[in-house]
């Protein structure tokens, strides 16, 4: 007699947290990655890139697993589309970090002195933003328990707002660095200009996806 059992399917929310753990693993490597790149230690860049690739691959497997276990007949307490968007946003962060490693390994560039400080500042800012987004996902269990209301919901709401502000600030920083970069077009060659700009854009992308996580979680609250 298995009637009652077949009603309870595997929850997709736990794997979602496992997924964000892998994403967080990628994010935690961003600062070491840039440290290695700026000090010209290209062997280390290669090493860290391998680590990131592994974590991104693990995240992909978890993502596919989640998608496979969500057939039509499963009912979630949130909009299924919102759930999928959340998963995509999480995965996009991991992808963006991997893209950073690809760009870095295309060419060994010496980062100009004038850009170093603001670049590392942007890096740290983006990493903080991404970590905040990851922390939100770890609150999901309590959010479910409190039925999407109460103190948990307020916490999520607050962090989502902070993420929005954080992303806006990252945009501003990104703009300023890019402006500085292009003002140095006489000192840098085309490849360096292009690739450095790509790095800056990708960093901005990580902040964008982090904000997206906050926005989607907010949708969970309202539905």
């Amino acid at each position: 007699m298995r009637t009652i059992l077949s009603m309870f399917a595997k929850s997709p929310f736990k794997p979602l947290v496992s997924h964000i753990d892998q994403v967080n693993e990628c994010v935690s490597q961003i600062v070491p990655l840039f440290e290695a790149y700026k000090s010209g230690d290209y062997k280390k860049v290669e090493q860290i890139s391998q680590k990131i690739e592994k974590a991104e691959h693990k995240a992909d497997k978890i993502k596919d697993n989640i998608r496979q276990h969500l057939p039509q007949s499963i009912f979630l307490p949130v909009d299924k589309r919102d759930f999928m968007h959340l998963l995509s946003a999480q995965d996009d962060i991991a992808d963006a970090v991997e893209d950073l490693t690809v760009i870095m390994r295309l060419k060994n560039i010496e980062i100009p002195e004038e850009l170093l400080e603001s670049l590392m500042d942007l890096v740290q800012h983006v990493v903080d933003t991404a970590n905040a987004a990851c922390s939100m996902i770890r609150e999901l269990e309590d959010l479910l328990e409190s039925s999407f209301g109460g103190a948990e919901a307020e916490k999520i709401e607050k962090i989502a707002q902070e993420l929005g502000t954080s992303e806006w600030e990252a945009d501003k920083k990104q703009f300023l660095i890019a402006k500085k970069l292009f003002s140095m077009d006489d000192k840098l060659n085309a490849a360096e200009l292009f690739l450095l700009n790509e790095l800056i854009k990708k960093l901005g992308g990580v902040a964008d996806q982090s904000e997206k996580i906050g926005k989607t979680l907010r949708m969970f609250l309202s539905r």
Binding site: R2, I4, L5, S6, F8, A9, F13, L76, P77, G149
Partner: protein, 416 residues
């Protein structure tokens, strides 16, 4: 051995077999949410179920049993040859038992209630054509099969929305949980006590009026209220900021409530399902004793007691493993959600028992769990089960009806 004794023994054997089956399979489903949420270990659940099932069967099992034994067929078709009704009832028991075994073997979730109702209608039609069945009554029963899961769902939905609003969405859920618990304990105690006292104690020759029953029930409720207040004081407070620990402690408070509702649903299940085994037997006993199909006598309490005891026996001997399996596999339900689902289902089933309507406790519980899911109480819910349930209805009733009719015919031909 003369024919009558042989038939009586045959009927009792079939009844015991059905009752053991009910205990072995059905009870585990009813207790599933309580064990799965961690409120009871499977061993504790068995003890609670054993006591509650018997109590439910003995005190409130008479109404549904009456429906099964005399409420569905027109007695006049058997008036000339009452012994045929005996053949039919035996056929019904055997057919149901066979179907349960086949379904068990194939792993299908089927309802003992639907089996016996289908079987009784089956031999009735074989005996006296379509006019032999009281279609009005049977129609009501079939409608209750659809309405009970829906009502169970509605009840659970409303209850969960209530505690979600009053407790979980507060900044200090533990505080509100502690405050609300005694009131909910009071409510469950009053309902249970009332169900037992009002019309339930006839077997002990104590016929209380509604007001008297309510009064005693109120007393039981008040005792429960103060007892739970004492229990609640023992739970340590958690600072408002630590929301995670607060939620954990809140769920622990609901564990107390779940123990109570586990008893409640086992009681309701016993009160409704014992009839599936003893209803036909009661008909057989009545006819063999009085020689007529007019069953004016009340359900003999020894039959209810026997049915209840057999359910408990089936539970203890075979139901243990099923209970352990179901309990260990359900992990997504928490005590608060389990409480809402169990309470909703138990209330609807008990109401149906009082109204003499045989319903499936398992299906009603499924409805309740879905109700909690729709109220956003569960992380995930597989709605595919609804299809499984409908399929099981479509398979069960025709199969038992036809098999019962065949067995009836065989008995008719061989025994005359």
């Amino acid at each position: 051995m003369d024919l009558n004794t042989f038939l009586l023994v045959f009927a009792i054997t079939a009844c015991v077999y059905m009752a053991c089956n009910i205990g072995a399979n059905d009870v585990a489903n009813a207790m599933g949410t309580s064990v799965g949420s961690g409120s009871l270990t499977f061993k504790q659940a068995i003890v609670v179920a054993a006591v509650a099932e018997f109590a439910g069967a003995y005190f409130v099992g008479g109404h549904v049993s009456d429906t099964i034994r005399k409420g569905m067929l027109d007695p006049s078709i058997f008036a000339d040859v009452p012994i045929h009704l005996v053949y039919g009832m035996i056929g019904a028991l055997v057919a149901s038992a066979v179907w349960l075994n086949i379904a068990s073997y194939l792993g299908w979730p089927v309802s003992t209630t639907h089996s016996i109702v289908g079987a009784v209608v089956g031999f009735g039609v074989m005996a006296g054509g379509l006019d032999a069945v009281s279609w009005g009554r049977v129609g009501k029963v079939v409608m209750s099969w659809v309405i009970s899961p829906v009502m169970g769902g509605l009840c659970a939905y409303i209850l969960f929305r209530f505690i979600s609003h009053q407790i979980f969405r507060r900044r200090n859920p533990l505080l509100y949980a502690k405050w609300l618990l005694p009131y909910m304990v009071f409510m469950v105690c009053v309902i249970l006590a009332n169900a037992m006292f009002y019309k339930g104690l006839k077997n002990l020759h104590l016929d209380l009026s509604f007001v008297e029953a309510m009064a005693y029930a109120f007393v039981v409720g008040v005792i429960g209220f103060y007892f739970s207040k004492i229990l609640v004081k023992k739970v340590p407070d958690v600072p408002k900021r630590e929301i995670h620990r607060q939620l954990e402690s809140t769920e622990n408070i609901f564990k107390y409530l779940q123990i109570l509702t586990a008893f409640y649903i086992a009681f309701a299940h016993g009160s409704n399902d014992v009839a599936n085994a003893v209803g036909p037997l009661a008909a057989v006993v009545s006819i063999l004793k009085n020689g007529s199909v007019a069953m004016k006598v009340e359900m003999p309490s020894w039959i209810l007691a026997m049915g209840g005891a057999c359910i408990v026996f089936g539970l203890l001997v075979w139901g243990r493993r099923v209970m352990e399996t179901i309990g260990s596999k359900i992990t997504e339900i928490t005590p608060s959600r389990g409480f809402c689902a169990t309470f909703g289902a138990a209330t609807i089933v008990l109401i149906c028992s009082k109204m003499g309507l045989p319903v499936s406790t398992t299906h009603t519980l499924v409805g309740s769990v879905i109700g909690v899911g729709f109220a956003r109480g569960l992380p995930t819910l597989n709605l595919g089960i609804i299809q499984e349930i409908v399929m099981s209805w479509l398979a069960t009733v025709p199969f038992t009806a036809i098999l019962s009719a065949i067995i009836f015919k065989i008995l008719l031909i061989t025994l005359g």
